[in-house]
Amino acid sequence: MLKLENIEHYYDHVYALKKVSIELNEGETVALIGANGAGKSSILRIITGLNKPKSGTVTFQGKAINKMSPSQIVQAGIVMVPEGRRVFPYMSVRDNLLMGAFSRSSKTEIKNSLDQVLERFPILQERYNQSAGTLSGGEQQMMVIGRALMAKPKLLLLDEPSLGIAPKLVAEIARAIIQINKEEKVSVLLVEQNSRMALRISHRAYAMTTGSVAISGKSADLLEDDRIRAAYLGGEV
């Protein structure tokens, strides 16, 4: 469904990505793990068109998308929840969610999606008319996942959804990701520093070190892999 081939990227002559190739099949949840600065967000920004790769290609459902604009890529069905949530702080929860549906036009379908999102995250119903900036971190994270779902994505990109969120809510968000993948048949590319959580809820994973993919495989296998345990799971059992 999604295929990155030999992606290279650098900022001001500093290499961020070296020959990165990643693949995601329809229906999968794929995790991308790695330390801070490994290049995970850069990959997502390239997939969404916010950054253009210096070389390499990105194909989505057989079409090259690496020259398309971010809004065209959203139209194609790829939607990202960015790192640090990035809510529209002075807009109500309602308006934030409606912004998610910006690329769609059918009012009744948008209404259906809105009902689904509010059902999935009931807290958003309670906060419906509040400014998004006044929500807690966990509530904001649910809102931006809901906002992305409002676009009815085929592929959902999540950049560190557990970052700065209370542990109890991390479990809730992990559960929501599994459900979105299973029930709504949305493919998911999950970027996480919380490697244990990411490996538990994904089918396959890529582990990155400074700009390139070091190890990849089935998530269940990687959880048992000694190299992964040492480098990504803090050596715990």
Binding site: T48, L50, S69, P70, S71, V74, Q75, V79, M80, P82, R86, V87, F88, P89, Y90, M91, D95, L98, M99, G100, F102, S103, R147, A151
Partner: protein
Amino acid sequence: MEQILVNGAYLGAQYALIALGLTLIFALMNVMNFAHGQMYVLGGFVTYTIYGQLGMPYALALFVTAITLAVVGAVVEKFLFRPVIKRSQRDESTMLLAAGLGFFLDAVILLVFGEKQRGVPKLINGVFNWDFRVIMPYDRILIFALAVACIIGFMLFMQYSKTGRALRALAQDRDAAQLMGVDVDRYGMTGFALGAMLAGIVGGLLVTITGVNLGMGGPTSTKAFMMVMIGGAGVIPGAIFGGLILGFMESILLSTLASYGDITYLVIFVSLMIFLAIRPNGLMGKPWG
């Protein structure tokens, strides 16, 4: 006293409309449009030509003015500001560009319309007189009402339309808005067109009261900039407050300081400096990138 307040409200409504356009452009593009006053003057001259010269209905003149300035705004964004923003890392570049555009529009207005003060026939005759406490010509009341209607219309548009929501989203988080599918080029252009249109509409409104001349551009840009600084750059209610505050200050100080000579603007500038030293972000300035 009532008279001063009524004058203040009248001035403030026009000013608020000018400031709204300027703050919209700033919020969306991070561009301080120093040519805003010239756009206002251009709007005045378009209305003058269609209503005053050609004798067409005023409503039509105002409509054509709005469209003309929207087109000017769109063209200026697409061919001047957008390429400069794409290539330059520094805010100074767009400031220079805006200032240069102001001089350019001044020159165009001089060539096309000349340097003379121009007026148009009165819209309606007669004067409203409440016991000699408030005296207000009917045409001023009409222009005041039109300005208020435009402000309300603009706010409703920003709050409830899909385009308005996209513009707000773009101002609050550019990347996130793009990730929702907002085309930055298209909506940047829309916002610039809207901002220029608001400036033009005020020109078209005020030409019926005070007339229009080439020299009004620069000072109007400065005033618009001040209002936005008072209210807080990039914030819609801030622009409205800034406009009203400047309108009332002008009206109150002009009458109370009249006996001390022409010092109204000196007092306004000094108070603005002190105010900004205390609140650099203005009344409701939020750190909108």
